[in-house]
Symmetry: C2
Subunit: 239 residues, 2 copies
């Protein structure tokens, strides 16, 4: 990112959910470009892919975030998802199978939990903006990546919060990636100066810290770079 240092001028604050993945990195760059001070919220939900958290830290710094909170919330205590170690991460699935139904990598109510935590921070900051890099296209099977869900969350937030009830505040949940293809996301991020080598997508990294190259998330990442027609900087175990 070109904007690597926090500057002195206060801008309107935005809480940005920053996982360290390709999507949230792009989303944060968009929030920064929109002129917000970034308050980066990274949830450590005991995911398999812990290296994502290192990427999130580096990204928060590169965006000149005013603050990063890395909050442990162990969603694995409830079970129910391949991403928290309860099933095998599926590999080598053809694209048509990936886009059909809700995959086992779905973490129950994850975005509801993440947005609720972002809401808590936004209310303390008096911030009216939350950014989340959800995408309805590549993850058509995730119910909490759809615009209907986001709107219902905003409506709920207005009734949940002190500032909302006092009429001083209307939360906007920004989802700039929601209708983009992965290739469009990558092109947008490159134009904003992101180095995608410092982002993480793989659900099931190798012991050597490489992207597996075979899980749904790796397959979508590869396809994205291919379709964007740009070099893929990712180190895959299976290219």
């Amino acid at each position: 990112m070109s904007t690597s240092e926090p500057d002195a001028t206060p801008r309107e604050p935005a809480v940005v959910l920053l996982s360290g993945g390709l999507d949230s990195a792009t989303c944060a760059a968009i929030a920064r470009r929109a002129g917000h001070d970034i308050y980066a919220l990274t949830i450590d939900y005991n995911q398999r892919h812990r290296v994502e958290l290192d990427c999130a830290r580096a990204l928060a710094k590169s965006y000149g975030a005013r603050r990063q909170v890395e909050l442990p919330v162990d969603l694995s205590c409830f079970g129910g998802s391949a991403l928290t170690g309860h099933f095998e991460v599926p590999k080598d699935r053809p694209a048509d199978e990936m886009s059909c139904g809700i995959p086992v990598t779905y973490v129950p109510a994850r975005n509801t939990v993440f947005l609720s935590l972002a809401l808590a921070w936004a209310e303390v900051l008096g911030a009216r903006h939350i950014y989340i890099g959800v995408n309805a296209l590549d993850y058509s099977g995730y119910p909490d990546c759809r615009p209907e869900f986001i709107e219902a969350f905003e409506t709920m937030a207005a009734k949940a919060t002190r500032l909302g009830v006092e009429g001083k505040w209307r939360l906007k949940v920004h989802t700039p990636l929601i209708t983009m293809t992965k290739a469009e996301i990558i092109r947008t991020g490159l134009a904003l100066g992101i180095d995608y080598a410092h982002t993480w997508s793989c659900y099931d990294p190798t012991l050597e810290g490489l992207h597996c190259g075979r899980c749904d998330s790796c397959l979508l990442r590869k396809k994205g770079f291919r379709e964007a027609g740009v070099p893929d900087p990712t180190r895959y175990a299976l290219p």
Copy 2:
């Protein structure tokens, strides 16, 4: 509680938010009486009043809960509330002042966060019922204790979850205490066999582990027992 042992017959599961306080203890007893298997969710949000967590453990056991999850979610990382140590807990406030406006003990978006976590567990369990002991009367200043908020949360939940989207599931958030006075809550709980000596209300316990007797929560608790016309088993520093 009379129902102290888990029995073998599976009943319809309910996720019950169990803080260890007087209200949530009563709410859990009502859920149990309604014939549910109890999955007790206790959030350790780094509150000042840690002794509440010990009460929650004892209560979960006494209700024969199928499982208790005690989940650390450090809401104090965002700041903004007396309950997480960011302001002084107010003392000796007259009742009219307590019922006016939103108090500093309000934790931003707390019930949204708690219900979201309950939703995550409910979805994994396939449970259609969540119980939360919110009360709109004694806590008129808390926006997330009002029926409008609860309804908006249910609507959002239907769009947030796999089971909701598939039409197999409609979450019900039960708020049996929402319109009760503290005295009514206490009478209801006593009729269900609760020993309120094993519940905790104080926002600012003494070093000796007594209820301070002076914070809003202690004052409401005392008033509740007085108005219910029953002995108050609580050990207060200032009776």
